[in-house]
């Protein structure tokens, strides 16, 4: 199996797109934090995360993804163990256990678990021999993803838990979901959705209510959305300029260096800047789809498509929240939001993509 591959085979187009997005992100993190004594210098730490992520990407690219597929069972088990550990001994911040402290470093296990699920599902679905997925296959992959989802939701981190759904959906869809099964799943989802209301925590309900009617309680989370929309809208076409957004600089945008970084960016760089960043994201995502098409095997396709759907979901939910299309969740904007675990795990996901990419001409 040991084939020699060269970094020359890396997808450099994808790499440049990703780097450009990171540049936009770091400069906006600088703009949002430079005036605050508490957060000053955060952009440098983000550069550090990027460096670590970059290294992780190169390492993973080098590693043949088939090896990961071989150990998929253990990868999956490790992820579940990590998630259970978070619930048992995780660090509690703002009433949620999401971080595991290992050697002085706080790791958000769920970020890595997502990748484990991508690999697990790729392995399982690529082994299905039939043209179309059987019902029993659906139940099995559903249980695999569901277990991780429940553990993440229990932290509680509903946003991240929900990111497993597009991964699962994309996987089964590409692996040959029957149309009648798809119809049944959509129907079930529609029926179950109202019931989940009772499972939501008060703050989650409030966010949903707020999302449906932001003016109803402007003091709480509706206030965040409103302030975010004000920031975006007041940016106009050309934006107010770097470090000149009043909503950003005076602290009206909530968590403006992380989840709401797009609001700060849109305020200061305007519609022109938004256009640039969204075009970069679009190129990145389309390139991922292209890589999925050109993957050497079914498992490779499923891995790359899983990463693509994960990033698309993050983009839609996060940016949708900033402009008021989506309820407030803690999902970061990949590659732009500040954050160690999220940044590194995104780069690792890209490493998986590169690993598939570099082997596209092998054994065809």
């Amino acid at each position: 199996m040991a084939r020699s591959v060269s970094y020359r085979e890396l997808d450099w187009f994808l790499f440049v797109c990703v780097l450009l997005i990171c540049v936009l992100g770091v400069s906006e993190i600088y703009s949002t934090t430079q005036s605050s004594p508490r957060f000053a210098g955060m952009h440098l730490r983000q550069v550090l995360w990027l460096g670590l992520g970059l290294a992780a990407m190169f390492l993973l690219a080098r590693l043949d993804y088939h090896i990961l597929l071989d150990y998929a069972f253990w990868v999956y088990l490790a992820a579940l163990a990590g998630l259970v550990a978070v619930l048992l001994v995780g660090k509690e911040v703002f009433g949620a256990r999401r971080w595991l402290e290992i050697g002085g470093i706080n790791i958000q296990v769920s970020e890595v678990a997502k990748l484990a699920i991508i690999i697990t599902l790729a392995r399982y679905l690529s082994e299905v021999r039939s043209e179309r997925l059987r019902f029993s296959d659906l139940v099995k992959v559903g249980l695999l993803a569901g277990a991780a989802m429940i553990l993440i939701a229990a932290q509680p981190d509903l946003g991240t838990a929900l990111t497993l759904i597009p991964i699962l959906a994309t996987g089964i869809f590409l692996a040959g979901l029957k149309w009648k099964h798809m119809a049944a799943l959509v129907l079930i989802a529609l029926l179950v959705l109202p019931g989940t209301w009772h499972l939501l925590r008060p703050y989650q309900r409030e966010r949903l209510v707020t999302f449906l009617n932001p003016r109803q309680s402007p003091r709480h989370s509706g206030y965040q959305v409103l302030q975010s929309q004000i920031a975006v809208g007041s940016g106009g076409f050309w934006g107010k300029g770097m470090e000149k957004g009043s909503q950003n600089q005076l602290g009206f945008i909530p968590v403006r260096h992380a989840e709401f970084i797009m609001a700060a960016y849109a305020e200061e760089q305007g519609f022109a800047g938004v256009l640039l960043s969204l075009l970069l994201y679009l190129m990145l995502l389309l390139r991922l789809v292209y890589n999925a098409e050109t993957a050497p095997d079914r498992a490779g396709t499923l891995i790359v498509a899983g990463v693509a759907s994960l990033l698309l979901f993050h983009l839609l939910v996060n940016v949708g929240m900033v402009i008021g299309f989506m309820p407030v969740t803690g999902l970061p904007l990949p590659l732009m939001s500040y954050g160690g675990s999220a940044t590194i795990s995104t780069w690792m996901a890209l490493g998986l993509v590169m690993s598939v990419r570099m082997r596209r001409f092998v054994n065809l």
């Binding site: 590409l174 402007p218 007041s234 519609f271 969204l278 389309l286 098409e293 498992a299």
Partner: protein, 614 residues
């Protein structure tokens, strides 16, 4: 070894294409969202962003000080914090109002009413919710800077008036502008304006122009920078003709009584003292007055808000004899020796008219008639003059119309005439009416200020200077406000000597006598019930104080071309003689002040009203 490798099979490319289209659609959807916010509704959100971080805070302009003649401060301001609400900063009226009502312990309904009053005002216009903020209020505002950015503390300059109602009717008071005045377009709602007295009359001078500053605040409501600053323009001071020493003497003599005292210098028209009792405390109005306090003031039957000096309209009684005597002298009635025999009663037009002294005064000439205030003599004089001539002189000398004093709502008084009676009562003048009018009874009514003005004018030979309170230090307006009705020298001599006699020859005003000072004067007693009724019910003093006569005294010094004229009105004070010692004390205070030395040295430095007005 991974087994899937052996069985290569591409996933349907068609399904990957769907993922591609979903991606494009998703990003397009986001772009539409940004387009809507950043292009379509950009200006709306820009306004919201500005409103978020820009606060417009007013800087209140202090009202001008009120100074006395010697430039002593009579009315000044003190700083105090008020809680204001700026609607522009309000995020959610429904929720905020409930929180504010609870936090500041205000009535919710009142709060809404209050906001409604300002509906048409600019949204940045401050609305005062509470004066004299307590520590609890301040703590509440500070603690809710983030969620209640619309409430603010604002330093106000609150009026401080002298205590115990000193000069209350002079100064009046200030208050929030009424809806009616706002509708006139002159003031912003919520503006503090003069409501009564000089505060009202000279509001234009006293009221400053509020400034404002626009500041940048962060999301926690902390000020992080200043955008611009508009300096407030403080109100200008006014300097009065009031002499605090004379005023104080006048305040003292009326303490605990009901009536009025006014002292003026007829040469200049300067009002030296002006007191009306009962008084009110204008400081009560400086802070939002409680409805109970207001009710008490307006319901008081003794009418403490009434400025009796310019607004009480009462029969002048025997003081009016001076006007009748002036008419008679001018008309030459006394060119030939003229005496009347007083027996206590005289019959005119088939009716008996009595003298105040039942036993009569015997043979009476003009001098004695004034000194002893003989009614019988003046019945005869009035009868000979006729009402038309009495009315003519009374009006020419300044009765029956406002003096033009610089206080709002001055009463006109009334000089009756046949024409007036026809108009007002659709009745013909009855000759007997003239007899009553000749002694200042019946329908003739005057204000205390009018009496001081007219008697001072007569003693000055018919030169009447409009009384005023705003100091005209260079006498710039003297000519324009002087009215001349020249009297014969003999008239003036005869009358002033007679009025001197009232005080110095054992007349009705003998108690007003002051050694070494040339005091003249005239008493007046206004019957509230006729002599006949009085005889029937006996003396009302004990049981029905409201039926006791009003006492008048108009005193002046020196007797000719006086420099001070004092009118004293004591409501239900009894005989006019009772009012005389009060006038004496005011005149004494004036001369004591004068003999102590000239004007105080600092008077020179202080601003004059003219300079201020330019």
């Amino acid at each position: 070894m991974y087994s899937g490798l052996g069985n290569e099979r591409k996933v349907a490319t068609r399904r990957l294409a769907i993922l591609r289209y979903a991606t494009i659609a998703g990003v397009l959807l986001l772009l539409i969202g940004f387009w809507r916010l950043q292009i379509v509704r950009s200006s709306y959100y820009a306004t919201l962003a500005g409103r978020n971080c820009i606060r417009t805070l007013p800087i209140m302009a202090p009202r001008g000080l009120i100074l006395d003649h010697d430039a002593h401060v009579l009315v000044d301001n003190y700083p105090s914090f008020s809680v204001i609400l700026v609607r522009e900063h309000m995020r959610d009226p429904e929720e905020s109002l409930a929180a504010i009502a609870h936090g500041l312990r205000l009535d919710r309904a009142w709060l809404e009413e209050r906001l409604e009053e300002f509906r048409n005002a600019a949204p940045y216009h401050p609305i005062v919710l509470k004066d004299e903020a307590t520590l609890a209020d301040i703590a509440y505002i500070e603690a809710h800077r983030t969620d209640l950015p619309e409430i603010e503390l604002l330093m106000m300059h609150r009026r401080r008036y002298p205590p115990h109602g000193f000069g209350a009717h002079l100064f009046g008071y200030v208050g929030e502008v009424s809806k009616h005045e706002v509708a006139g377009g002159q003031y912003n709602p919520g503006a503090v304006v003069g409501k009564l007295g000089l505060e009202r009359r000279y509001n234009e001078i006293l009221m400053g122009r509020d400034g404002q500053r626009r500041v940048l605040v962060d999301s926690r409501g902390r000020e992080v920078g200043r955008l611009d600053y508009e300096q407030p323009i403080p109100g200008r001071p006014i300097r009065l003709t009031i002499d605090s020493d004379v005023q104080l003497a006048a305040e003292r003599v009326l303490e605990g009584r009901q009536g009025a005292v006014v002292a003026l210098n007829p040469r200049t028209g300067d009002i030296l003292a002006l007191v009306s009792r009962p008084a009110f405390d204008p400081n009560l109005f400086a802070v939002r007055m409680s409805p109970q306090d207001w009710q008490q003031l307006t319901d008081d039957y003794r009418k403490p808000l009434l400025n009796r000096v310019t607004q009480a309209q009462l029969a002048p009684g025997s003081v009016f004899k001076i006007i009748v005597a002036t008419a008679a002298l001018e008309e030459g009635l006394f060119d030939k020796p003229f005496t009347v025999r007083c027996t206590g009663t005289a019959h005119h037009y088939g009716r008996a008219f009595r003298c105040w002294r039942p036993e009569g005064h015997g043979q009476v000439d003009l001098h004695k008639a004034i000194v002893e205030s003989c009614d019988i003599f003046f019945y005869e004089v009035g009868k000979r003059l006729g009402i038309e001539r009495i009315a003519y002189y009374a009006q020419k000398l300044g009765l029956g119309g406002p003096t033009g004093v610089d206080l709002p709502s001055e009463a006109r008084g009334l000089v009756p005439s046949p024409g007036w009676k026809q108009r007002a009562h659709q009745e013909a003048w009855w000759p007997g009416d003239t007899i009553s009018v000749a002694v200042g009874q019946g329908p003739v009514i005057v204000t205390p200020l009018q009496l001081a003005y007219v008697l001072g004018g007569i003693a000055s030979g018919g030169v009447l200077v409009r009384p005023h309170l705003l100091l005209d230090s260079d006498n710039r307006n003297r000519e324009a406000t002087t009215y001349r009705f020249p009297l014969k020298e003999g008239t003036v001599r005869e009358l002033t000597d007679a009025m001197w006699g009232v005080v110095n020859e054992g007349g009705t005003g003998a108690v007003a006598r002051l050694p070494e000072i040339d005091v003249a004067g005239k008493t007046g007693t206004t019957q509230l019930v006729g002599y006949d009724t009085l005889r029937r019910i006996g003396s009302p003093s004990s049981r029905q104080p409201q039926l006791v006569d009003n006492a008048w005294f108009v005193g002046m010094a020196p007797r000719r071309n006086p420099e001070i004229v004092v009118t004293v009105l004591l409501e239900h004070g009894g005989h006019g003689a009772a009012a005389a010692p009060l006038a004496r004390e005011v005149i004494r205070a004036y001369y004591e002040k004068k003999n102590r030395g000239g004007p105080p040295q600092y008077a020179q430095r202080s601003p004059s009203n003219q300079a201020q007005r330019d």
